[in-house]
């Protein structure tokens, strides 16, 4: 508990945290509205009668990009300590290293869960209000129950992405290395694999955190044109698996290597 209290204090006493949260929300809102507007315009042009734009889906599509701001927040709780050398003071205060890693994860995860859900709510409302405008033909569809579930899952996805990032950051220690790896897992590699069109690679890419998260959020956006190969629950399982593996790697390095 005391270690978590310390991590909580550290999290909120640097400006970068606030900047990350601010840009995360901005990316999510602007992204959702833009994507929603694009979809609505497309439907209008095609003139399909009865087509509606589900608001939740637009927000979920925007997460793929917006999550990187929240990933940066999680990353900085670890890499800024290695960059400044503050990690030595942290480990002096809490020499049981697993406890430090757990405290960082347990502080960041709920923050991202709540913040992801809240900023998702704002993004959904903004998208709904925009699409309700006659310019977009009033095509927005919002079913509160469905949206609530979408937003909650969105919160879980960004929280898990954050914890995965903490694990990776503890393993590689540098911000550049962490961002590269996280980007590759959450976007780069799976996209490249899908683009190859090779069935084996496409299938494999669906197990990466990016598509696992989308599957968990029950999104059909998987760049293949076909349905997701598995349901939300399996998506969550893959996501938790990746997060666990990253934390395990981070813990192993944190324990084995000197803290210099």
């Amino acid at each position: 508990m005391t270690t978590m209290a310390a991590e909580w204090t550290k999290l909120w006493s640097v400006r970068s945290t606030w900047w990350c949260l601010l840009s995360g929300a901005a990316l999510l809102i602007v992204g959702a509205v833009t994507i929603g507007g694009g979809t609505a315009t497309e439907y209008l042009r095609e003139g399909v009668p009865g087509m509606r734009v589900p608001v939740g889906e637009q927000v979920i599509s925007a997460v793929s990009l917006a999550q990187f701001a929240l990933v940066a927040l999680a990353m900085l709780t670890v890499t800024s300590e290695y960059a400044s050398g503050g990690i030595r003071q942290t480990l002096q205060a809490t020499p049981i290293r697993g406890r430090v890693l757990a405290a960082k994860a347990l502080v960041v995860a709920p923050v991202l869960l709540v913040y992801g859900t809240l900023s998702g709510t704002v993004a959904a409302l903004a998208t709904y209000l925009t699409l309700a405008h006659p310019l977009f033909g009033g095509l927005a569809r919002l079913s509160p129950g469905e949206l609530a579930l979408d937003l909650l899952r969105l919160g879980v996805v960004v929280a898990l992405a954050g914890v995965m990032t903490i694990g990776i950051a503890a393993a590689v220690r540098s911000a550049a290395g962490t961002l590269t790896i996280v980007f590759m897992l959450l976007m780069g590699l799976p996209l490249v694999m899908v683009m190859t069109g090779l069935p084996f690679l496409v299938d494999l890419s669906m197990r990466f955190p990016m598509f696992a998260g989308l599957a968990f959020m029950d999104s059909s956006v998987n760049m293949t044109g076909g349905p997701m190969p598995y349901g939300p629950l399996e998506g969550l399982t893959w996501l938790v698996g990746w997060t666990g593996a990253a934390l395990g790697a981070g813990y192993a390095v944190l324990r084995a290597r000197d803290a210099t």
């Binding site: 310390a6 204090t9 300590e81 030595r88």
Partner: protein, 318 residues
Amino acid sequence: MGVDGSPPWSPGPGLPSVSGMISLTGLTKRFGGRLAVDDLTLDLKPGKVTGFLGPNGAGKSTTMRMILGLDRPSAGTALVGGVPYHELRNPLRTVGALLDARAVHPGRGVRAHLLALARSNGLPASRAAEVLEEVGLAQVARRRAGTLSLGMSQRLGIAAALLGDPEVLMFDEPVNGLDPDGVRWVRHLMRSLAAEGRTVFVSSHLMSEMQLTADHLVVIGKGRLLVDAPLSEVLASGSVLVRSPHAGELAVRLLATGVRVERRGENALLATGTTIERIGDLAHEAGIRLHELSPHEASLEQAYQELTDGSVEYQAGV
């Protein structure tokens, strides 16, 4: 009771002295093929300022990091009060250390930095303000750490070390960047911390500083222990300066008694391995007039130079 069931924090000097002992046994650290610390065995005792001297790269910081559990020893043990550092509950209450004053998140406020440390060890938040007052940083409590001067950063590092009112204090080069007032303040702080019965372990490359602060000296070179002795003993390896119009004659007589003699100009000698009394008596017996007979204390600098010759890791090509 504290949040995690530990006893409530209490200030004051009721410090059990045995638990403040640091014991290194065969402590060794290897980086790749290079031995940074080589089989170091020594005890650091409470109530004293122990100076830790050695040339750059001698292994001082590595030794301190191993005591703090930051670096894992390749062999041997470092115990604080009989247990390895990582077994200490709320270690900041037992050991306070300043390793690198600049190792603070530059964007974090001075007070927030201390507050986070206090919370990590279940110390009351009021301790942050108290130690800031103690080191004279109360005015800058709201500033961000990155905006502090090096001297202020040192004070912040010292404040962090004092936070848990620990029995053991370790400082790596604490006077770096401090102005003369600050240097005097640190000197006084070390002395008073030791006087309260705490174990104070200070590394420095300023030999003159150690001469003024330390009770006990530990000197290492190339990771190996060279000296572990009271300051007075290290300095007593000094010699005697003699001036006499008959210096030559005196030198002959001194050499005859097995004393090492060095000629210092026409009328002066530097005698090693004897005492002022013996030279005075000898001169009196021989009827030799003396113009000066004074202790020539080897400065610590000089003693240190002799000790570490041949164990310097990085030497300028002179």
